[in-house]
């Protein structure tokens, strides 16, 4: 057993109102640069819908993620290493900018500089890539809130995948405008296809917290990661010619702050915390034969942070004490593994994604209430779950490789929680048979309610700071340990024959939390 820590996220889809604040603040923080105009490290897509980039979930076409070979081994869906190296001169599965959208701006200047005339001056759209006037035909959110109608929605790869009868069901329901939102960031997978596909070895998983990053000095722009990621969350910066992606805001996490998307989330639907997992068993778990077993296999990888054996193994791997405490208090571990109400997005891609989702429940309550039933009565709710307006099969395709029982299980827990809590809120005697019906006890269902409904900042984000003091120790070691070359002027090791002023690394943050605190309290 090799214990590793992984920073993970859970999003409670019931709470997402589709306001795109996460996308906007993320864009302001990370991608408001030339070369990444079209890129959204965080995007919110309306489901049913095509998603961003268009139809990324159609893996028969996009060839993202992993496949299990007949021998039971994992191979990237894009092909063997050699075949991918040969196709390096023109990646056959590379996306075109039109699959995302052509970024544009408007000729705002025209509004104030146009000569006096009969017509009101207009700001025409202008392509940010060619500088020429363009027709806006698609964007990251063109089908937002089911925009474009059935014509657009029918191209949803998940709808296409589902059986005929289900499609008609969703189509009928379309008149009742049913939808939900799916915010997406990089999944920071345990078995990332992008990392495996990078010919330069520039992409890596950080050993400390599992964040998947691109080394900008080492990336050579082969763009294999862009197509290998089944979620299409690695973007090609067309200005620098390098891959860029969601960093899980690691400069913030390192000083104990939540990511920008989490911090600014209006619905407070995001949870951040640590998972401890067994790194030795990742490949084995990702290679289970039946796709519907992948969710359970992924769940089995997550280790119990209260198990003394696990703690001992974690300490042996050098995971700091405060990180172990954070893992014990981790909200994402509770939601994913203890309560089992958070599910991974598309486990069938075999990448072991580490951003989990609590599937949406809300609409059935409203539907039941409209039909004159008591929408929050446990009996009615349980019966109505398979009559959801958005078919269970659709949610199951997203979150459990099509296994409806898994999604139904989480929805039953959520509805049980509502019924149970309603009795408490209305001053009636709580009914222990409700949590019992979903295999929970009163205490745990109440704690789950606290975590989902009250969700204070410190409960939602349990982010242990990175250990910068280790770095300081290292530095001091070099200075004061004493060495046979002491007093010999070796010059600056980084200076090199061409002087120091060229090629300085660009700093990511100016000062860390501890330094800032020391400065503020000293002066």
């Amino acid at each position: 057993m090799k214990v590793m820590a992984q920073m993970g996220m859970v999003m409670n889809l019931d709470k997402c109102i589709g306001c795109h604040t996460c996308s906007v603040t993320c864009k302001q923080a990370w991608t408001n640069r030339t070369g990444l105009e079209y890129a959204w490290f965080n995007n919110v897509e309306t489901r049913p819908g095509q998603g961003y980039p268009r139809g990324y979930e159609d893996q028969a076409k996009a060839k993202g993620g992993w496949v299990r070979t007949s021998k039971g081994r994992l191979r990237l869906k894009a092909g063997s290493r050699i075949s991918r190296l040969i196709s390096i001169f023109s990646n056959p599965k590379m996306l075109n900018i039109k699959d995302y959208y052509e970024p544009w701006t408007y000729e705002y200047d025209n509004l104030i500089t146009a000569p006096l005339g009969q017509q009101t001056p207009v700001a025409r759209p202008k392509s940010l890539l060619t500088g020429k006037p363009m027709k806006i035909e698609w964007s990251a959110n063109w089908d937002d809130d089911l925009g474009g109608g059935p014509e657009n929605i029918e191209k949803d790869p998940i709808l296409k995948k589902l059986a005929e009868d289900v499609t008609t069901k969703v189509k009928l329901a379309f008149e009742e405008t049913f939808m939900f939102y799916l915010p997406r960031i990089c999944e920071h997978c345990l078995n990332p296809a992008c990392v495996a596909a990078c010919p330069s070895g520039a992409m890596y998983k950080r050993a400390e917290d599992g964040i998947v990053l691109v080394d900008q000095q080492q990336c050579r722009g082969w763009r294999m990661c862009v197509s290998a990621c089944p979620y299409k969350k690695v973007y090609f910066n067309h200005k620098t010619g390098k891959a860029e992606k969601c960093t899980l805001c690691y400069p913030r996490l390192e000083i104990g702050l939540p990511t920008v998307c989490s911090e600014t989330c209006v619905g407070r639907l995001r949870y951040l915390g640590l998972f401890l997992y067994d790194a030795d068993r990742v490949t084995e778990a990702a290679s289970v034969e039946n796709e519907q077993d992948l969710y359970q296999a992924q769940l089995d990888l997550l280790l119990d942070p209260n198990d003394p054996e696990v703690l001992k193994a974690a300490r042996a791997e050098g995971i700091p004490e405060d990180w172990l405490v954070a893992a014990q208090n981790s909200p994402v571990y509770k939601l994913a593994k203890v309560y089992k109400i958070a599910l991974p997005l598309h486990p069938e891609y075999r990448t072991m994604p580490m951003v989990w989702y609590v599937p949406p429940l809300s609409p059935i309550v409203d539907v039941l209430t409209e039909t004159g039933h008591d929408g929050e009565d446990a009996g009615n709710l349980f019966g109505a779950i398979d009559a959801l307006r958005i078919p269970l099969a659709y949610l199951a395709e997203l979150f459990s490789a099509g296994d409806k029982e898994v999604v139904e299980g989480t929805l039953r827990k959520l509805s049980a929680m509502r019924s149970y809590m309603r009795d408490i809120n209305l001053g009636r005697t709580p009914r222990p048979e409700i949590p019992a019906a979903v295999g929970m006890d009163q205490e745990s269902i109440y704690e789950m309610y606290r975590l989902l409904a009250i969700a204070k900042h410190e409960d939602r984000y349990v982010v242990p700071a990175a250990h910068a003091e280790q770095a300081e120790d290292l530095e001091r070691m070099g200075q004061n340990m004493g060495c046979s070359l002491d007093g010999v002027n070796l010059g600056d090791a980084n200076a090199g024959p061409f002087g120091q002023s060229s090629g300085n690394p660009v700093p990511v943050t100016i000062e860390n939390f501890n330094i800032m605190k020391a400065r503020q309290s000293n002066e």
């Binding site: 590379m94 530095e475 060229s502 090629g503």
Partner: protein
């Protein structure tokens, strides 16, 4: 040998080698960030799908041909019993095919670059200059192939002139007289190629040095520990702003 000949055939080669090697080292140390293919596939994929592999794979064959043709002495192939005629037939047919593929590829690539608005906008002056040297080298090389076959001018055996000259350079005993006996096309090809090596490290051509062969041998998932020295609060101070040592 006039002084200009000495400059061209005994000095320029070493200048090219120095510029190429030192330039590459400088670029690798100080400009890794811009060391990339600067791929334009995001803008346009259909033409690139044909032109990219055509050019690159053709070029690999051309480079392989050069290595064999320039570095393997004629006496060696003679000793293997390979007749002069057979060697040239092979060299010209394979080299010709590779040359045609490369020229066709780069022709398509330049056409694509000029006609696709997005790609053209992203073409830098540096790229345009590089294309001039690259295409000039390819064209002169093709002309030299034709001339060695006797299609242009008199048939010429470059393995008695150009190849020994290259080996004389590599063994640090430059002998310009050798190449001066070759037809003009060969000499122009040699000069443009040397100029191409001079500018190589300062253009996008550097990506050719990054052929990711190591990919075949590394584990699938790469783990790295946090680089503590370059992380927040621990970066090297800027020149003139070094911390006081105590």
């Amino acid at each position: 040998m006039s002084s200009i000949d000495v400059l061209l055939w005994s000095v320029l080669p070493y200048f090219a080698i120095s510029s190429f090697t030192i330039g590459l080292m400088w670029r690798f140390k100080y400009d890794k960030f811009n060391w990339t293919t600067r791929s334009s596939q995001l803008y346009e994929g259909k033409l690139l799908r044909i032109a990219g592999p055509l050019f690159h794979l053709g070029l690999f064959a051309v480079i392989g041909g050069h290595i064999v043709g320039l570095l393997v002495p004629q006496s060696f192939t003679d000793s293997l019993g390979l007749s002069h005629e057979a060697y040239h037939l092979g060299a010209i047919s394979m080299g010709g095919a590779a040359g045609v593929a490369t020229l066709l590829g780069i022709g398509l690539l330049i056409y694509r670059r000029r006609t696709t608005a997005m790609v053209f906008v992203e073409t830098t002056k540096n790229d345009k200059g590089m294309y001039i040297f690259l295409v000039a080298t390819l064209l002169a090389g093709s002309a030299a192939t034709l001339s060695s076959a006797g299609i242009i001018g008199k048939e010429h055996n470059y393995r008695e002139t150009v190849a020994p000259w290259v080996r004389s350079i590599l063994t640090f005993r430059p002998d310009g007289e050798l190449i001066m006996a070759s037809p003009l096309a060969f000499r122009i090809h040699a000069i443009t190629a040397m100029v191409l090596f001079v500018v190589w490290p300062f253009t996008r051509l550097v990506h050719s040095l990054s052929a990711p062969i190591g990919y075949l041998f590394r584990p699938s998932i790469v783990y790295r520990t946090r680089d503590v020295r370059s992380s927040a609060g621990n970066r090297r101070s800027r020149q003139g702003w070094e911390r006081v040592k105590y």
